[in-house]
């Protein structure tokens, strides 16, 4: 049985290589970190991975050194896992002492009666935090019926990052055109096939592209940006009707689709690694978030430049959200005092948080950022203030996202027509709204 013998050795070799590779992986990022040895220990859960987590941990290290009576245990948990973990922790009566979720989820967690009214932390109710120093419209996101249930840490949202070298090679100054036709023309110049022809050339070979003008990264949020640019929204203002199959939505998604299949300036999204491709010099303009800053800076062989989000519609518009501190309704006593101290300290030192790439929530801190060290924070923050849209507020926001996201993916990966995908999404979202609103 020589074939069986060969199979045995082949399998063995493969497994051996796999194990060697597995063991050679880098050290994983810490998920649980203890800071300080103070008598009052507070547990702090959040989903701030990557440079966000690194920056926050640095801040907490400094906080406990200035407040030796407090120690902090942080758990960094993937957002998708954090939500169910919070549920089970609350049901078990063992929630964290403080946690961060997004402003768009405040309504959902508030509807379960989980959150403490934090009015008393703001100066409008005698607290230490200056309410009028938090940037709008992000700050509005923490209010339910006029009551604040959180303290915003930042505003974070969509932008683009240009590979300046690829723009220069194409003879184009890095910028974002303010209409779709000019955008397509620019991206065509930046898309090259293996023979060096760009996508506007008659000899261009779309089956053999080596450099892309752009790509798709976080489809859901970019779709929302482009939808707003076309004057639409995923749900009606009263939050009771799904409107994701509107003409505006069809137009927005059609233009995204055209970038891939009509103009060939963007690859099919599934299976395409946007960040690594940008780092490898294969994408000229990557749509991404404010959090891309440190990754871009780490690519020392590439000159990156932050630009506003792409404009596919007639008006500018960009998705943004906010990370928000929240406190469980049940927290009292020493731990509550320690948590309040930590939130106040972090809020007063939000300039440190800008190192993560995010835009600090406080207006005064945004004004302190110098253009030399924080160019992306300043530029992106300005787009949020000028034409930013917060993620829609709904008590079923996570479920709505789950209904829409796969349909967008199906349309942009050519598994469904635009119309079918958006009609299916709308039907499902309406069922959710009918059940929950």
């Amino acid at each position: 049985m020589p074939k069986l013998k060969a199979l045995k050795y082949l399998l063995s070799l493969f497994i051996l290589v796999f194990f060697v590779q597995t063991m050679a992986q880098d050290e994983p990022e810490p998920v649980v970190t203890d800071f300080g040895s103070g008598g009052t220990l507070i547990s702090f859960w959040n989903g701030l991975s990557g440079s966000d987590g690194v920056t926050l941990n640095e801040m907490l290290g400094q906080f406990v050194s200035e407040n030796p009576d407090v120690s902090v245990r942080t758990e960094i948990i993937d957002w998708g896992t954090l939500y169910p973990k919070l549920q089970t922790a609350f049901v078990a009566g063992e929630p964290p002492d403080v946690f961060i979720v997004h402003a768009s989820e405040v309504a959902q967690f508030h509807s379960y009666g989980m959150l403490k009214d934090l009015s008393y932390l703001y100066d409008t109710n005698g607290g230490p935090l200056p309410a009028d120093d938090f940037a709008q419209p992000g700050f509005n996101g923490v209010f339910i019926d006029g009551v604040p249930y959180g303290v915003p840490l930042d505003n974070h949202g969509r932008a683009t990052w240009a590979n300046v070298g690829l723009f220069e090679a194409a003879g184009i100054e890095p910028h974002i055109p303010n209409n779709f036709d000019d955008l397509v023309a620019m991206l065509q110049q930046l898309t090259l096939d293996a023979n060096g022809n760009n996508a506007a050339s008659a000899d261009f070979d779309p089956a053999n592209i080596v450099q892309w003008g752009t790509c798709m990264e976080w489809i859901y949020t970019d779709f929302e940006s482009y939808l707003w640019q076309h004057g639409g929204s995923i749900i009606s203002e009263d939050g009771k009707t799904a409107t994701v199959n509107s003409e505006a939505a069809m137009a927005a998604l059609q233009k995204m689709h055209d970038l891939i299949y009509k103009y060939h300036v963007s690859p099919e999204p599934a299976g395409f690694d946007a960040w690594q491709s940008w780092a490898g010099g294969k994408v000229a303009l990557v749509p991404t978030g404010s959090w891309f800053r440190n990754f871009a800076e780490d690519q020392t062989d590439i000159q990156g430049q932050a630009l506003p989000a792409m404009q596919l519609g007639p008006n500018p518009g960009v998705w943004f959200g906010a990370h928000v501190f929240m406190i469980p309704v049940s927290l009292e006593g020493e731990k509550l005092a320690a948590v309040e101290k930590m939130i106040e300290w972090v809020t007063n030192n939000q300039k440190m948080w800008a190192a993560s790439g995010q835009v600090p929530a406080r207006i005064s801190v945004q004004a302190e950022l110098d253009p030399e060290n924080y160019p992306s924070n300043i530029l992106i923050g300005k787009t949020f203030q000028d034409y930013g849209h917060m993620e829609v507020v709904s008590t079923a926001i996570l479920e709505l996202q789950s209904a829409l996201d796969p349909e967008l993916s199906a349309a942009l990966n050519n598994q469904k027509s635009i119309e079918d995908a958006l009609n299916d999404a709308n039907k499902r979202m309406q069922q959710i709204l009918d059940r929950t609103q």
């Binding site: 045995k8 796999f18 590779q21 549920q87 089970t88 599934a270 690694d273 199906a410």
Partner: protein, 309 residues
């Protein structure tokens, strides 16, 4: 006489003696009791609780959980995503069970050759992937199968094959997840097949060789028929396990592209833990359990009747 016998029985100190069978039965239950207790608390109780929850609009953090009767099941029957997830799961299970059984049997046959030296070493080595967690397997295979930077596409490029979008192509994603699972899971059925092979009497092979049978004939006429009970066990347990696939799509594709790799348990997770609808999630779980039971009975009906123990 009868009276005296009766008296002597009454007066003799009586020792309560159990017969051997009773003692063995009690001992067996005592040994089993830790499992039975834990199984009852964490599986049986949870199963009945899930059945109960499936009749309620059960949102975990809301104190009021209204009884909705069969509403969750009615919704399930009309839910397109449920049927898609079921189809994907069935497709995944068939590919994976057939693939795992074939690879495991081939590996067992290779190791079982009399001339092979170091059988124990290869047995351990080939079993090793089964020891890894789904997290390790999933993350590593995402890189191996990466369209642009993956080693699989890199190796295929040497024979002129253009990069394949393993996890991003709706038609390929389930086979790619199956490939990962087969590699991960063939170790255990390989051990089962090895045990089965070692139970086949050597005289049968000798007689066949004396009669001039070729290797292929020996495999198809002797080995495979006598391995049928083992094969039945491997396929039945394989289907039960793979119908509950979750970790691979959750880690490797998040159910995408689109919903091309949504599986039933992945959808259950979405319903229960992302939409926070425990009642609907429980209805999905109950429906899946019924389907698995029916499928297992069908396997016994159609494969089991040809098995001689």
């Amino acid at each position: 006489m009868q009276k005296s016998e009766s008296l002597s029985k009454t007066n003799t100190p009586k020792r309560f003696r159990m017969n051997l069978k009773t003692r063995e039965t009690i001992a067996a239950y005592l040994f089993l009791s830790p499992f039975i207790i834990l199984f009852s608390v964490f599986v049986i109780r949870a199963t009945f609780y899930a059945i109960q929850m499936s009749f309620f609009d059960w949102t975990i953090l809301r104190p009021f959980k209204p009884f909705v009767g069969l509403a969750n099941y009615k919704e399930l029957i009309n839910d397109d995503v449920w049927w898609l997830a079921l189809k994907n799961t069935l497709y995944f299970s068939i590919i994976t069970v057939v693939g795992t059984s074939a690879v495991a049997l081939a590996a067992a046959l290779a190791i079982n050759q009399p001339q092979v030296k170091g059988k124990e070493f290869f047995r351990v080595l080939l079993y090793m992937p089964s020891l890894l967690s789904v997290g390790v397997i999933g993350l590593t295979w995402v890189w191996l199968l990466n369209t642009q930077f993956g080693i699989v596409n890199y190796l295929l490029s040497f024979i002129g094959i253009r990069p394949i979008n393993w996890l991003g192509d709706g038609k390929l994603v389930i086979p790619a997840l199956s490939l990962t699972t087969i590699w991960w899971g063939f170790g255990f059925p390989m051990l089962i097949f090895l045990a089965g092979l070692q139970g086949i009497p050597e005289q049968l092979y000798e007689a066949a060789r004396i009669d001039g049978a070729r290797q292929g004939q020996i495999f198809w006429r002797i080995t495979l028929p006598l391995l049928r009970p083992t094969l039945l066990f491997v396929t039945v347990t394989g289907f039960i396990a793979h119908f509950q696939v979750f970790g691979q799509p959750f880690i490797m594709t998040r159910g995408g592209p689109g919903r091309a790799s949504y599986t039933v348990i992945f959808y259950l997770y979405e319903a229960a833990w992302r939409a926070f609808r425990m009642g609907y999630g429980s209805a999905i779980a109950v429906a899946l359990a019924i389907i698995i039971i029916i499928f297992t009975l069908l396997q016994f009906r159609f494969i089991g009747r040809r098995v001689e123990y």
